[in-house]
């Protein structure tokens, strides 16, 4: 009955799942014989307690270890393989990413306006675990964070340059330029508008649509249906009891893989960028010692944060993060071209909406370089991150209604991205166009933010805030990521012994250091990105599961 995938009718809570009381208020539990943790191994080696899902933990640890060793040993051979794999995906299967992402956004938007939006995560009478400020700070810090720091300046500038350059054709009749859509050759206002629309497109509804789908489906299946908080649970409507066997193990292993490598590689690459910034600002030597110290520092603070837990650790760091980001944003708006930014927010929002259908079109694209090299790349990236971000936001969203959840995960972050990108992008473009400063455009990618800040007042302070923000954004990703990996490898238990989460945070730092020194970070990042393809399919199943799951909830 309750677990019959064919059953569409809403269930009476009293008849569901034999005698297990609903979470809080009416909800429709799934009737399964699976006991969470039944496949777990508990032991106490050297006085340290562990409680792990045997197969998921073992296989993912071995695969991860093999991958790291292989990448370190055969870097030159492995890198081209991963690269060509990923190029194949983004060129030939770009349409899968683009189409999939559109489905996620449309479903998420539609759900806001349907009666299904009234369903409450955790049962009809559940109350939220976190206040709005802490909740939103955690959503945002886990979901985007770091990218905003680097791409806020460089992406609008990049698109502006290519759009101004217009279309150029190669000998084979294919476009060789990287301009979005048709470009805007020589049309300054048009190029600005197009570049901002393209940037916001990559940081707006679509990434958050992917997060919302994973987050919502996991939240519903854990808090309302009583299934463990791991990726496999959203497959229950499709696979039934088989999710507790190997099909489910595979999904979870893939999620661990994507999360750990996504985190480790961005930790490594992020440390490279933070170190470049420190070198630029303070002349601290940009070498391996600095890099290793940075990663150790970030890992140490992340460790402290996960020991303190979600409430006192992750939440507080995320709030600090938000406060600093807000400070920097307000500063840039105030001392930058304030009027241009203020009007720009609305113009860019309008431009985004206007260009959205063309930019998100999966088929018949003429701007192959842009739609494959930028958009499909981003979509693979967001989707590969979605298990991690989705699981984390599911965990902190109990007590919210579906409508509240979707507005907070989809609409608010999109608007925040619009404001952020407009403030940083407009200021940078204004420097180039109106003040004739070209340094920002010429600077290395990771230094563009700092170069832009240099032409604003108080640059010593703001650049320092910038670096602190970069580091804190990493910590908030690292700690929430470790919590997520720990819960997946513990079979969905969030109360597994503390040493396990410490283990994952350390492993993450260790992999980052090993690859940074031994080389191969880029290769492994590509490997993590390729998980975007299988997860696109996982997310499409998630879409089905959400509708299925919500239909059977009392509302």
């Amino acid at each position: 009955m309750a677990n019959d995938p064919q059953d569409e009718k809403p269930q009476e809570p009293s008849t569901a799942s034999e005698g297990i009381p609903a979470p809080e208020g009416a909800a429709n539990l799934i009737d399964t014989d699976y006991v969470i943790g039944q496949d777990n191994i508990t032991a106490s080696p050297m006085g340290i307690d562990v409680d792990l899902h045997g197969k998921v933990f073992m296989v993912s640890s071995i695969v991860i270890l093999l991958f790291v060793i292989l990448t370190l040993a055969l870097q030159d051979q492995v890198e081209p393989i991963f690269d060509s794999m990923f190029t194949f995906l983004t060129t030939n299967l770009a349409w899968v990413f683009l189409l999939g992402a559109n489905v996620f956004v449309i479903l998420a938007l539609v759900l806001i306006f349907t009666p299904l939006g009234k369903v409450r995560i955790g049962g009809a009478d559940a109350t939220p675990d976190f206040g709005y400020a802490g909740w939103f700070a955690m959503l945002f810090a886990a979901g985007m964070g770091i990218g905003l720091m680097f791409y806020g300046v460089s992406e609008p500038l990049g698109h502006y340059g290519t759009a101004m350059g217009g279309i150029s054709m190669g000998e084979d009749g294919l476009r060789t330029d990287w301009a979005p859509l048709g470009g805007a050759e020589g049309d300054q206002a048009g190029a600005i508008s197009l570049s901002m629309a393209a940037t916001i497109f990559h940081w707006g509804l679509h990434p958050w649509g992917a997060y919302a789908i994973v987050g919502l489906s996991l939240a519903i299946f854990a808090f309302n249906k009583g299934l463990p908080l791991t990726m496999r649970s959203i497959f229950y409507p499709v696979l039934g009891e088989r999710v507790w066997g190997w099909p489910g193990h595979l999904i979870d292993i893939l999620a661990v893989f994507a999360t750990l490598f996504g985190l480790a590689t961005s930790l490594g690459l992020g440390a490279t960028q933070a170190s470049a910034g420190l070198n630029y600002l303070f002349g601290i030597p940009d070498n391996n010692v600095t890099l290793v110290l940075l990663i150790l520092g970030i890992t140490l603070v992340a460790l402290g944060s996960i020991m303190l837990g979600v409430d006192k650790g992750v939440q507080r760091l995320s709030q600090l993060n938000m406060a600093l980001a807000l400070l920097l944003l307000v500063f840039v708006i105030a001392v930058g071209p304030t009027l241009m930014i203020a009007t720009g927010v609305f113009e860019n929002l309008l431009g985004y909406v206007k260009n959205l259908p063309a930019l998100s079109m999966p088929f018949g694209r003429e701007d192959a370089n842009f739609s494959q090299g930028w958009t499909a790349f981003y979509w693979a990236w967001w989707i590969a991150w979605s298990p991690f971000v989705g699981m984390f936001i599911a965990r902190v969203s109990r007590g919210r209604t579906v409508r509240e959840f979707l507005i907070a995960v989809l609409v608010v972050p999109t608007l925040a991205s619009v404001v952020w990108m407009t403030a940083f992008g407009t200021t940078a473009i204004d420097q180039v166009v109106n003040a004739g400063i070209t340094e920002v455009q010429d600077a290395a990618l990771e230094l563009q933010l700092f170069t832009m800040l240099e032409y604003l007042p108080l640059s010593a302070i703001t650049s320092f805030v910038g670096i602190v923000l970069v580091v804190v954004f990493f910590i908030t990703s690292s700690d929430s990521g470790s919590l997520v990996i720990d819960s997946i490898t513990a079979g969905g238990k969030v109360d597994a012994p503390k040493p396990q989460r410490i283990f994952w945070a350390l492993i993450e730092g260790a992999i980052a250091i090993a690859l940074l020194l031994g080389g191969g970070l880029g290769a492994l990042q590509t490997a993590a990105l390729t998980t975007g393809l299988p997860f696109t399919l996982v997310l499409l199943v998630g879409c089905y599961a959400i509708v299925k799951g919500l239909m059977s909830e009392p509302r």
Partner: protein
């Protein structure tokens, strides 16, 4: 002397709290005190229960079994937390006031070096409450 004894209970690891349960039962009989069993559980589905409400149900059954052992009045309180591993100490400290306990009986382990980074729950609770704490070592 004691009117209400609180015992933190982990339904997933009952073997670990056996000695504490026996001690608490003796004390409850001696002072004619009520015994309150407190469980801290994740708000996500777990191994013992799939919802906090189910945990409370099981805890009540457990409390009533214990009542048969010592014959004193019992109560059960379930606290659900988004991160029970990290929040356990704070939740227990809050629960002492909430249930109005004047004695807490809980198991602990002998001091070890690891305590510097991960202090024992018993030690942490004892330093943050006015109630008396009886820590039982294995």
């Amino acid at each position: 002397m004691y009117r209400k004894i609180m015992i933190p209970v982990d339904l997933a690891h009952l073997d670990l709290i056996e000695p504490a349960l026996a001690q608490a039962a003796d004390l409850a009989r001696h002072y004619g005190a009520e015994v309150c069993y407190v469980g801290v559980t994740a708000n996500t589905p777990g191994s013992v229960a799939r919802t906090p409400a189910e945990y409370q149900q099981k805890l009540e059954v457990f409390a009533n079994q214990q009542a048969k052992v010592h014959g004193q009045p019992v109560s059960a309180k379930t606290i659900s937390s988004p991160d029970p591993i990290a929040d356990l100490d704070d939740e227990l400290i809050r629960a002492i006031d909430d249930v109005g306990a004047d004695l807490v009986v809980m198991p602990t382990h002998p001091p070890k070096h690891l305590d510097v980074i991960m202090p024992s729950h018993g030690g942490k609770v004892a330093t943050h409450t006015k109630a008396s704490i009886f820590l039982i070592r294995p």
